[in-house]
């Protein structure tokens, strides 16, 4: 087991290195750098001026040197102001030490956000916290509902309950967040007026049922159908097993067979599916937070990408790639742990 986890961790680190390198390359393409330097200088800067700025700030160094600086294995050289002898603020916003220093991901420094004019950490962690709250409520609603639907549908295959629930879950998988968000807003905010169509107030005034239900609902609904279908398939398979028939034949009631014998085995597969949903949930977070103006991770990502905020976008990518890989790892370990047939090997 330990060797398995170590091997998986190794692959994970390698994958992250590869992916961050790709992202680093993409956000540092020539047009992006030009835009950055123009935003730091002014609109009418000449080409030489721009080139000068890029050289001075180290953007013209070798790709791997710069990637190493971002990682924190190569020293960053601050730009020293010749008049004061002090280091200039990076992007006119973040202070830097006067000597060359290691300032990268490994040291916990994510760089400087040009859009928000603060170090990336100051923006990233609060945003992640806000998204964490959203995700918590999404999970709290999504997991029980989808498991319940799946178990109810899969308990008696082909029954009317099964068919109704199956069509319902197919419908929710056909409804991406930007569609269900609009429909729910129209029904609950514009028409009935029960809920707030914007979660912008959640950041300042705290979360209430009034402003937070719509985002949670919108995000949960897309994944509910998918997890419910997986649970149903798994449940249907379990219900045809010999041990279920044995339990029935020895005179147990249907409900206790389902509760005691079927459920535990049927829930192994949905567990992995829920964990593997995270990449999709990340996309959902971005859509929902943009739609309802909730200042979380997704909102930050869109702002960073839309405003060519290189360091912030890199940090966002790092976080999302880490979340995806980490949940994959948990899903694998959890599957091996939950499934006795694999655990024994």
């Amino acid at each position: 087991m330990l060797a398995f986890i170590l091997r998986r961790l190794g692959t994970m680190v390698l994958t992250m290195l590869c992916l961050t390198m790709v992202v680093f390359y993409m956000v540092n393409l020539e047009p992006n750098l030009r835009k950055l330097s123009i935003s730091q200088l002014d609109m009418r800067s000449s080409d030489e001026h721009i080139e000068q700025w890029l050289v001075k700030n180290g953007f013209r160094e070798n790709f791997f040197v710069r990637y190493g600086q971002w990682l924190g294995v190569v020293k960053r050289v601050p730009v020293i102001n010749p008049e004061t002898g002090q280091a200039e603020m990076r992007f006119k916003a973040c202070p830097q030490p006067n000597e060359p220093y290691f300032g990268g991901i490994l040291q916990g420094e994510f760089g400087c956000s040009t859009k928000f004019k603060v170090p990336v950490e100051n923006k990233l962690w609060p945003a992640l916290g806000a998204t964490g709250i959203l995700m918590f409520w999404v999970m709290v609603t999504m997991v029980p509902i989808s498991l319940l639907i799946g178990v109810l549908a899969g308990m008696r295959e082909g029954s009317r309950t099964d068919r109704t629930l199956s069509v319902a879950s197919i419908t929710t998988t056909a409804t991406p967040e930007y569609v269900s968000g609009v429909i729910f807003t129209v029904i609950f905010a514009s028409w009935l007026g029960w809920l707030n169509g914007s979660a912008a107030s959640a950041t300042g005034q705290g979360i209430t049922f009034y402003n937070f239900t719509l985002p949670v609902m919108t995000m949960a609904i897309y994944a509910i159908g998918y997890i419910a279908r997986m649970t149903r398939a798994s449940m249907v398979e379990v219900m045809t097993q010999q041990y279920i028939r044995t339990a029935r034949l020895k005179g147990l009631s249907f409900s206790s067979v389902v509760m005691k014998h079927a459920l535990r085995n049927a829930l192994i597969a949905p567990f992995t599916v829920i964990m593997l949903q995270f990449p999709w949930l990340l996309t959902g977070v971005v859509i929902v937070e943009t739609m309802f103006r909730y200042q979380g991770f997704g909102f930050t990502l869109v702002e960073a990408a839309g405003n060519n905020d290189i360091d912030l976008l890199l940090a966002c990518s790092l976080v999302s790639v880490f979340v995806v890989l980490f949940t994959q790892l948990i899903s694998d370990i959890g599957y091996a742990y939950l499934n006795p047939r694999i655990r024994v090997q």
Binding site: T15, I170, Y178, S320
Partner: protein, 399 residues
């Protein structure tokens, strides 16, 4: 100025009336399919369940809407009639040119016509992108599953790399105007005078796969019959090369096949995002199928590995692949909507559903009518595809 309105019943009647070419085509196709369903194989079997009929009906509805959109739509999707700004459904255009059946949007364009034209963009990009993703996934998944070992580890690692990338981030990085800028610095551009950009390079890589696929397909089968082989290989090269030149380099000598740089960008991004999924499925299927007796028989006969992969394994993997393709077209439609929703790649005035949802969802507090048609259009099409996939899965499990 006061606008005149027609009643709700009138609106429904007129909408149904505008779709007349679709009803006609649907009646023809469904009639013929029902009549000969016994002889149509898997497609005919779909008509034995309600879910299957519903799926076929919805998918064909949007397909025909896309084909006949110039006849159906009463207005041009981009034309603006100033007085019709935010007009409610059923508003009559004062100059007597028609009725805004589903109202006007914030730029005074007809919502109904835009919805109808929006189906075109989806119908062009989604199925073809899925087809290319299938080609890439199959061509790489077959050897990975069949040979296993190093090839498998390497290709799987690459696939996992792409899969670990959140789709939305991929799109933000891969679908931007900056990335489409052509650069002429590389040795290739200096040699040929053709500019290089990341979407173009990716397109050049991806679009080679169909050609390779068909090449291998024909070569393995007709190796011993040169007269057929040369003809088929020649045709593959000719058609493949023609499409390749047109799509990748925008240099079709006849000028028939061309694609806008931004559409190519979207196309490539979507293929890039969905081919690892196909790869995984194909790989899994091949690993399962290669243990069957007929594969062992072919191996004993001394067939080449590629012959076995393409002519023994692949035909037997078609059931799950067709189901997956259906689901994947739906998923691609959702991805296109996402792109439109974030305003990536597509032109801001483009009538596609995602862009329409983006534009209207910001104004939901004041007007809800421009948001609903694209929302229900997108939902119903994806639902139709999912129902179709569900019915297909059930039918193929029966065999």
């Amino acid at each position: 100025m006061q606008l005149e309105y027609i009643g709700a019943f009138q609106i429904v009647l007129r909408v149904l009336g505008h779709f007349w070419p679709v009803w006609l085509a649907l009646a023809l196709v469904l009639g013929v399919s029902l009549r000969f369903r016994k002889r149509l194989g898997l497609y005919g079997d779909l008509f034995s369940t309600g879910v299957g009929i519903a799926g076929v009906f919805i998918c064909l509805f949007w397909l025909f809407t896309a084909i006949f959109s110039t006849i159906i739509a009463p207005f041009d999707p981009l034309s603006q009639v100033a007085v019709m700004k935010d007009a409610l459904p059923g508003a009559v255009v004062p100059d007597g040119s028609g009725v805004y059946l589903f109202g006007g949007d914030k730029l005074a364009r007809d919502v109904f016509s835009r919805m109808v034209y929006g189906s075109r963009i989806v119908m062009i990009i989604a199925p073809f992108a899925t087809l290319f993703a299938l080609m890439v996934g199959i061509t790489l998944g077959l050897p990975a599953g069949y040979y296993g070992g190093r090839i498998d580890s390497f290709l799987s690692f690459l696939a996992n790399l792409v899969l670990a990338f959140p789709v939305i981030l991929l799109f933000y990085l891969l679908v931007t105007p900056e990335i489409r800028e052509l650069s002429f610095d590389s040795w290739f551009s200096q040699l040929t005078g053709i500019g290089v950009s990341i979407p173009r390079t990716l397109a050049a890589v991806f679009f080679i796969f169909p050609v390779v696929f068909f090449f291998a397909l024909f070569y393995t089968r007709f190796k011993k019959r040169p007269e057929r082989l040369y003809l088929l290989l020649g045709l593959t090269l000719l058609i493949g090369g023609w499409v390749y030149l047109g799509l990748v380099f925008d240099a079709d000598p006849l000028g028939v096949i061309r694609i806008d740089p931004n559409e190519l960008n979207i196309f490539v991004a979507v293929v890039f995002a969905s081919s690892p999924g196909v790869f995984r499925i194909v790989r899994g299927l091949v690993m399962d199928i290669k243990t069957r007796d007929y594969v062992a028989a072919a191996q004993t006969r001394g067939e080449t590995p590629w012959y076995i992969m393409l002519w023994e394994v692949l035909p037997n993997a078609r059931g799950p692949l067709i189901v997956d393709a259906c689901l994947r077209i739906g998923y691609t439609t959702i991805l296109l909507g996402t792109l439109g929703y974030f305003g990536l790649g597509l032109a801001p005035e483009s009538p596609d559903w995602g862009t329409a949802i983006k534009d209207s969802s910001r104004l939901l507090r004041s007007f809800i009518h421009p948001a609903l048609p694209p929302v229900f259009a997108l939902m119903s099409f994806v639902l139709g595809l999912n129902l179709l996939a569900d019915a297909l899965r059930e039918q193929s499990l029966k065999d």
